[in-house]
C-alpha cells in the first residue's frame, strides 16, 4: 500500500511539473498581454513595465522564476487587480466552494436515491422515465438551461434573484445576510445539481443493477431481511464501491468553481475571476488558477485510487 502511494505520488509530481510547464508555455504563446491591452500607457512606459514584470525574458527563464516562487508559496501578483494572486484566490475561492459543496452534496444524495430506485425497478415505467430524465440532464447545455431558468423564474415570475451573491447595495448582516445568500444561490445550485445528477445517477443505477444480480443479494433475501435493508445495506454498499472513486474527481470542481455557472449567474467566485482575467490577459492569475486546478485534479485522482483501496476489503489488505 505505501509502496503504491509512493510510486503514485512520484508520478503525480512529475506530471504536475510537466503540466505547469506546458500551461506556462501556452499562456506565453497566447497573443497579447495585460500591458499591450492597456491603451492609456505610452510606448516607453509599456517597455518599462515589461522590464519590471520580466515579460521580455525567454519563456523558460520566466517559467523557472515562476516555479521558484510558486514552490515558495508565492503565485505572483495580479497585474489587473494589483493584489497577490493567493490573496485573490482566498477571497473568491470560498464563494465557489459554497456553491460547489452544496450542489455536490445534493447531486450525490439525489443520484444515489434515483439510481437505487431505478435499478430496483429496472424496466418499469419509472425506470424508463428516470433514464430519459438522466439523458435529458446529460444533454443540457449548462449555460442555456441557466439562462432559461433565469428568464422564467427570475425575470418573468420574479421568484428568485437573477444573479449575484447578495442584492445590489445590500447592507444585510447576520441572519439576514445568510438568508439573502441562500436566496441567491438557489438557482445556480439547482442548475449545477441538474448538470451533475444525470451521469452520476446513471452510474449508480448501472452499478446497482450489476450488484442486485449477485448471489449475496439472494442470500440476504433468503435470510428474510427487509427489502430496504437488502437494498441499502447489502446492495448499496457494494454498488458504491466503484462510485467512491468518483468522489476524488469532484475535488477540482469543488474548489475550481464553475466557469459557466458563475458567469451566467454573476456569482463572485473563482471561475468568474478567471474569465475576467482571461479577457485582460492577467497571466499570473490565469497561470495560478490553471495550475491550482491541475493540482486538484491529480490529487483527486490519487485520492480516488486510495479511497477505493480503503473502501474495498478485498483490496485493502493486498
Amino acid at each position: 500500500m505505501s509502496a503504491f502511494i509512493t510510486k503514485r505520488l512520484l508520478y503525480t509530481v512529475v506530471i504536475l511539473f510537466a503540466a505547469s510547464l506546458l500551461i506556462f508555455s501556452l499562456y506565453a504563446l497566447t497573443p497579447g498581454d495585460f500591458i499591450t491591452g492597456n491603451i492609456k500607457l505610452t510606448p516607453e512606459r509599456k517597455a518599462e513595465l515589461r522590464e519590471i514584470y520580466g515579460l521580455n525574458k525567454p519563456v523558460l527563464e520566466r517559467y523557472a522564476i515562476w516555479l521558484k516562487n510558486a514552490l515558495h508559496g508565492d503565485l505572483g501578483y495580479s497585474m489587473a487587480q494589483q493584489k497577490p494572486v493567493l490573496t485573490l484566490f482566498n477571497q473568491y475561492i470560498w464563494n465557489s466552494f459554497l456553491l460547489a459543496a452544496v450542489s455536490t452534496f445534493l447531486t450525490w444524495v439525489t443520484a444515489v436515491i434515483i439510481g437505487c430506485v431505478a435499478a430496483y425497478k429496472q424496466y418499469s415505467w419509472f425506470d424508463t422515465l428516470v433514464m430519459v430524465a438522466i439523458f435529458a440532464a446529460m444533454s443540457l447545455p449548462s449555460f442555456f438551461i441557466g439562462l432559461f431558468l433565469i428568464k422564467i423564474l427570475a425575470v418573468d415570475w420574479k421568484l428568485l434573484p437573477p444573479g449575484g451573491m447578495i442584492a445590489t447595495g445590500s447592507q444585510a448582516t447576520g441572519l439576514a445576510y445568510v438568508k439573502e445568500v441562500i436566496h441567491h444561490m438557489t438557482l445556480p445550485v439547482i442548475v449545477m445539481t441538474i448538470m451533475g445528477v444525470g451521469s452520476l445517477a446513471r452510474y449508480i443505477r448501472g452499478s446497482m443493477i450489476d450488484v442486485i444480480k449477485q448471489d449475496y443479494i439472494r442470500t440476504a433475501r433468503a435470510k428474510g431481511l427487509k427489502e430496504r435493508k437488502v437494498l441499502f445495506t447489502h446492495a448499496l454498499r457494494n454498488a458504491m464501491l466503484p462510485a467512491i472513486t468518483l468522489v476524488g474527481f469532484e475535488l477540482p470542481a469543488l474548489f475550481g468553481g464553475s466557469l459557466i455557472i458563475e458567469k451566467i449567474f454573476n456569482w463572485p467566485g473563482i471561475g468568474q475571476l478567471y474569465l475576467t482575467s482571461f479577457g485582460l490577459r492577467d497571466y499570473p492569475l490565469l497561470m495560478g488558477f490553471t495550475v491550482l486546478i491541475a493540482i486538484l485534479t491529480v490529487i483527486g485522482t490519487l485520492l480516488s485510487d486510495i479511497l477505493y483501496r480503503v473502501a474495498d476489503p478485498r483490496v485493502r489488505l493486498q
Partner: protein
C-alpha cells in the same frame, strides 16, 4: 433467475471468435426493437433534415438585412420572429444547425480517429510507444478542459483565420482536447483483447504484426469505437456551443446554435426577445439528447462488456 432467457440468447453469440457478420445482423435486429433508441434516431434524422433540407423551403435564405423587419416577435410570416438585422430566426436556426452539426460530427471523426489510432498503437505495441502516448494523454487530462479550450481558442485566433474558416479551428481544438480520454479507453480495450484466446492463437500461428493488427484486432475494436463515436458527437456539439457562446468558437456572421444564444448576453434581447435565443438552445438540447439516447442503445447491442 431471469438469466435463463439471456443465457439462451447468449448461446448464439458466446465465444471469443472474431466479430462475425451474424453479430452485426443480430445487433441491428436488437437495436430495431429498442423503441427508445429508435425514437432517438428518428429525432437525429429529423434534425439533420431540418437543418440541411429545411432552408430549401425557406424564402429568407438570402441573409439580407431588412431594417423594416427588425426584432419582430413570432408571426405567420416569421414563425420564430426576426433578429436585430431583420433576418428570419427559423431560417437562421436551420443554417446554424448545419454548422453546429458539421462541427460536432467532424470533430468527433477527428478525435475518434486520433484517439483510436494512438490508443490502439499504445495498447498493441506497448513499451516506449505506450509510455510516450499515455504520458502525453495524462498530461493533457491534467490540464482543466475549459481553460485549455480558452487558451487554444485565443492561440488559434492569433492565426487571423477569416471567420468563415473558424469552424475548422474549432474542430481542431475540440479534437485536441478530446482525444486523450478516447485513447485511454481504446488502449484499455486493446490490452484486454490482446490477452484473449484468438489473439494468442494468431501469435502462435506466427502472423505478422500488421496482419494481426488489421485483420484480427481492429475488427474487434469497431463496436467500441462506434459506441464511443456516437456518444462523442453530443459532447462535441455541447462544447462547440459553449465556446461559441463565450465568443471563442465560431463567430458571427457564420451562425451556430451557440453563438445565436450569445444574444442572451444582451440585457434587452435576453428579457424581451426570448425568440432569439431559446430556439437554438432547444435545438442543441433536442439533438444532443437524441444522439445520446441512440448512442446508449448502440452501446446496449454492441458493447460486449457489462454496462457501468
Amino acid at each position: 433467475m431471469s438469466t435463463i432467457g439471456s443465457e439462451i440468447t447468449k448461446a448464439g453469440t458466446a465465444g471469443t471468435a472474431p466479430v462475425r457478420s451474424s453479430m452485426w445482423r443480430q445487433a441491428a435486429r436488437r437495436l430495431l426493437k429498442n423503441r427508445l433508441a429508435m425514437l432517438g434516431l428518428a429525432v437525429v434524422v429529423f434534425m439533420f433534415a431540418f437543418c440541411f433540407i429545411g432552408p430549401l423551403f425557406s424564402p429568407y435564405t438570402d441573409n439580407k438585412i431588412h431594417l423594416a423587419q427588425m426584432n419582430k416577435p413570432p408571426s405567420p410570416q416569421h414563425w420564430l420572429g426576426t433578429d436585430a438585422l431583420g433576418r428570419d430566426v427559423l431560417t437562421r436556426v436551420m443554417q446554424a444547425g448545419r454548422i453546429s452539426l458539421t462541427v460536432g460530427l467532424a470533430s468527433m471523426v477527428l478525435s475518434v480517429f486520433i484517439g483510436s489510432l494512438l490508443g490502439a498503437i499504445a495498447g498493441y505495441f506497448r513499451g516506449i510507444c505506450d509510455q510516450i502516448i499515455m504520458r502525453l494523454a495524462d498530461l493533457l487530462l491534467t490540464i482543466p478542459g475549459l481553460p485549455l479550450l480558452f487558451i487554444l481558442g485565443a492561440l488559434l485566433s492569433d492565426w487571423k483565420v477569416p471567420t468563415e474558416y473558424r469552424m475548422y479551428i474549432v474542430m481542431l481544438m475540440l479534437s485536441l482536447v478530446n482525444w486523450p480520454g478516447l485513447a485511454r479507453m481504446v488502449r484499455g480495450e486493446v490490452l484486454s483483447l490482446r490477452e484473449r484466446e484468438f489473439m494468442q492463437a494468431a501469435t502462435v500461428l506466427g502472423l505478422r504484426n500488421r496482419r494481426k493488427l488489421f485483420n484480427h484486432l481492429l475488427p474487434n475494436l469497431v463496436p467500441l469505437i462506434i459506441v464511443i463515436a456516437s456518444l462523442n458527437v453530443g459532447g462535441a456539439i455541447l462544447s462547440e456551443s459553449v465556446l461559441s457562446f463565450f465568443g471563442l468558437g465560431v463567430m458571427p456572421p457564420t451562425p451556430t446554435w451557440g453563438n445565436m444564444i450569445d444574444s442572451a448576453n444582451n440585457m434587452i434581447d435576453f428579457q424581451k426577445r426570448p425568440w432569439l435565443w431559446i430556439p437554438p438552445g432547444f435545438s442543441i438540447f433536442a439533438t444532443v439528447i437524441a444522439i445520446n439516447i441512440f448512442g446508449d442503445g448502440l452501446r446496449d447491442v454492441l458493447d460486449p462488456r457489462p454496462r457501468k
